[in-house]
């Protein structure tokens, strides 16, 4: 039932001999909200620009609804972009900005007028037709940039870190706005960000990228709860990542102590990486858990306390609503289903590749 909207096949791109994307394959389904997530320089923006037609891939194909558009210039592609710093036309008022694409397509005056009214309503900026872009706040400019793109009824809306320039509160408001607009418009969104929280909040599907490779893709829940490698685990949320030994199915040894887990099939006595989220580390009074340690730092974070516990020669990050003062002796317990086992990458390069076969 899921039909492919955008397909990237074997995309390779390098600049000045530096590989940005290497044999990238990606399927983006119709009417989904897909986020390309990764640190700067991971290739996510380049991927978006290749879809938009602003960069040509060295090798590979870009397909939209099954049609090869690799050699179609940007201005003929059925998709629109919301740019990082809005890129509004500062010498035109809001109305002229929004009408720009429609005028080029020679739409009738009435059509354009209706579309502007509709778009401004959608982004909650009715009555701003005659204002100039630089008289608007950052958040408002961002909304206009979205309005300018969506009046052209693109099949896919590309968003390149659109909230990056906004402050925290506004960013959160805009996240909900974007989800709402997405629902109302019923089109495919491809969103680029380095902010994992933004990605988790808004997306149906997250594509985690690093050094030009896709590390993992899946639903926000999967990405958060079942990271496939240390990079993903480290990049998405806070986590304790440590080396361990996989003793046998459903048993792992961490810092000399054996923990029950739910994973199978990692072999016998094999070195692995283990991820445990800070909120999944349970602190018990000394001796009652599996691994004993001492609380070394304590910060009140509002919803919970953030503590650091020195145990087994490792600084464990712990989130808990229970308070253990600095210096108190505690014992660490982790429920089996909260322990995520990953294969150890053999080298840095392999880590980048996300090899885990």
């Amino acid at each position: 039932m899921k039909t492919s909207m955008v397909e990237l096949q074997h995309i390779t791109k390098s600049y000045d001999g530096q590989m940005i994307l290497d044999d990238l394959n990606l399927d983006i389904f119709e009417n989904s909200f897909v986020t390309l997530l990764g640190p700067s320089g991971c290739g996510k923006t380049t991927t978006l620009r290749i879809i938009g037609g602003f960069e040509a891939p060295d090798k590979g194909k870009v397909l939209i609804e099954g049609r090869d558009i690799t050699s179609v210039p940007a201005y003929k592609r059925p998709l629109n972009t919301v740019f990082q710093k809005y890129a509004l036309f500062t010498h035109m008022n809001i109305e002229e900005n929004i009408a720009f694409g429609l005028k080029i397509k020679n739409k009738s005056r009435q059509y354009i007028k209706d579309k502007i009214a509709y778009a401004l309503k959608l982004v909650n900026l009715e009555g701003y037709e005659k204002r100039m872009p630089d008289s608007l706040s950052g958040g408002q400019q961002q909304r206009i940039a979205i309005a300018r793109a969506i009046v052209n009824e693109p099949k896919v809306l590309l968003l390149d870190e659109p909230l990056g320039a906004l402050d925290l509160k506004l960013r959160q408001d805009m996240q909900y706005e974007l989800i709402r607009m997405k629902k109302e418009l019923g089109i495919t969104f491809v969103y680029v960000t380095h902010d994992q929280e933004e990605a988790l909040t808004m997306s149906d599907h997250i594509v985690v990228m690093n050094q030009g490779y896709i590390q993992q893709q899946g639903s926000p829940e999967t990405i958060y709860n079942e990271p496939e490698n240390a990079f993903v685990a480290d990049f998405i949320g806070d986590s304790n990542i440590m080396g361990a030994t996989f003793i046998q199915d459903e048993l792992v040894e961490i810092f000399g102590k054996r923990f029950a887990c739910v994973d199978k099939g990692f072999g016998v006595n094999k070195p692995v990486d283990v991820v445990i989220r800070p909120e999944d580390v349970d602190l018990l009074p000394e001796g009652e858990g599996t691994l004993d340690g001492v609380v070394t730092h304590l910060i009140f974070k509002g919803v919970h306390y953030e503590m650091e516990v020195q145990a087994g020669g490792f600084e464990w990050l712990v989130h808990s609503t229970d308070l253990f003062p600095v210096g108190s002796k505690v014992s660490i317990h982790v429920d089996p289903f909260d322990i995520q086992i990953m294969n150890k990458p053999a080298s840095e390069d392999e880590e980048a590749l996300g090899v885990h076969e």
């Binding site: 037609g53 602003f54 960069e55 040509a56 210039p73 940007a74």
Partner: protein, 275 residues
């Protein structure tokens, strides 16, 4: 995209051809004339001719007057640029306007106007006489030439200085004050170093034309004073010895290059362009 990027690069082509034809080749031609004799054989004589007493004297005087002019311009322009920065006249257009406007009165005529003011029986002469002050005619003196240079080139010092000074973030100055610097220290340690690019481009734009002028010295020097510019001009226009004129021009260019090199140390980004 790649195709249109290539097309855009092509737009730089015509001017490249123009520059080669009208900037690079002309300079090579000067070098060629400078290093050859009339019969076309290679010689260093045209360049070493700078060592004759007459030429050395002119070059020395040119250097002295242009350095004086540059120094005076800098001393006059810096406070002026600071005042303009602090004043409500901050609208850039207005300030450029004030300093560019005189250029619409012909350069030679403006300079000639100083003759009217300074000459024996000129306006300043008459005013001094009426006030019972001692009267002197400055025309034909080095002072008059420096005055003419400063008058003509002062705007080229003020504008770059003003442009860098207005760009200095007020908070940087406040931060220096906050950290305990007094007014003098704020100026010496913060404002002055930040304005170096403007100083460098101002110095360049004043020093080069004043070192090579022949018109100002012609007019205000009453043709009694010969600068190196006058000598080169005469080699070309009256003495008709292009080889010698080119050779002396090369020497002059060396002096300009040396001063540029010395200054470029302070303007690492080359951002100090003026307008």
């Amino acid at each position: 995209m790649n195709k249109s990027a290539f097309h855009k690069k092509l737009l730089a082509g015509p001017y490249l051809v123009w520059m080669i034809g009208f900037t690079v080749i002309p300079l090579l031609l000067i070098a060629w004339y400078g290093f050859t004799a009339r019969d076309g054989s290679f010689t260093l004589e045209n360049v070493t001719a700078i060592r004759t007493p007459e030429h050395l004297k002119a070059l020395g005087l040119s250097l002295a007057l242009s350095l004086t002019c540059t120094g005076v311009c800098l001393l006059l322009a810096y406070p002026l640029a600071m005042i303009l920065k602090g004043s409500g006249l901050g609208k850039k257009g207005f300030i450029v306007f004030i300093f560019i406007l005189p250029m619409w009165m012909n350069f030679l005529l403006r300079t000639y106007a100083w003759l009217n003011l300074l000459d024996d029986g000129g306006i300043l002469f008459q005013i001094c006489k009426r006030l019972g002050l001692p009267t002197v005619s400055l025309v034909g003196t080095n002072t008059a030439i420096v005055l003419g240079m400063v008058y003509n080139y002062l705007p080229f010092m003020v504008l770059p200085l003003y442009n860098v000074l207005v760009k200095i973030d007020e908070n940087v100055i406040n931060a220096a004050r906050d950290l305990g610097a007094n007014s003098f220290q704020v100026f010496y340690k913060v404002i002055l170093p930040l304005s170096f690019p403007g100083i460098v481009s101002g110095i360049t734009m004043v020093f080069v034309p004043s070192l090579t002028t022949f018109a100002i010295s012609d007019l205000l020097g009453a043709r009694k004073i010969l600068l190196i510019g006058n000598i080169i001009e005469q080699e070309f226009s009256t003495a008709n010895n292009w080889h010698l004129g080119s050779g002396l021009s090369l020497v002059l260019m060396v002096f300009i290059l040396i001063s540029m090199a010395a200054l470029s140390h302070y303007d690492k980004n080359g951002e100090g362009t003026s307008f």
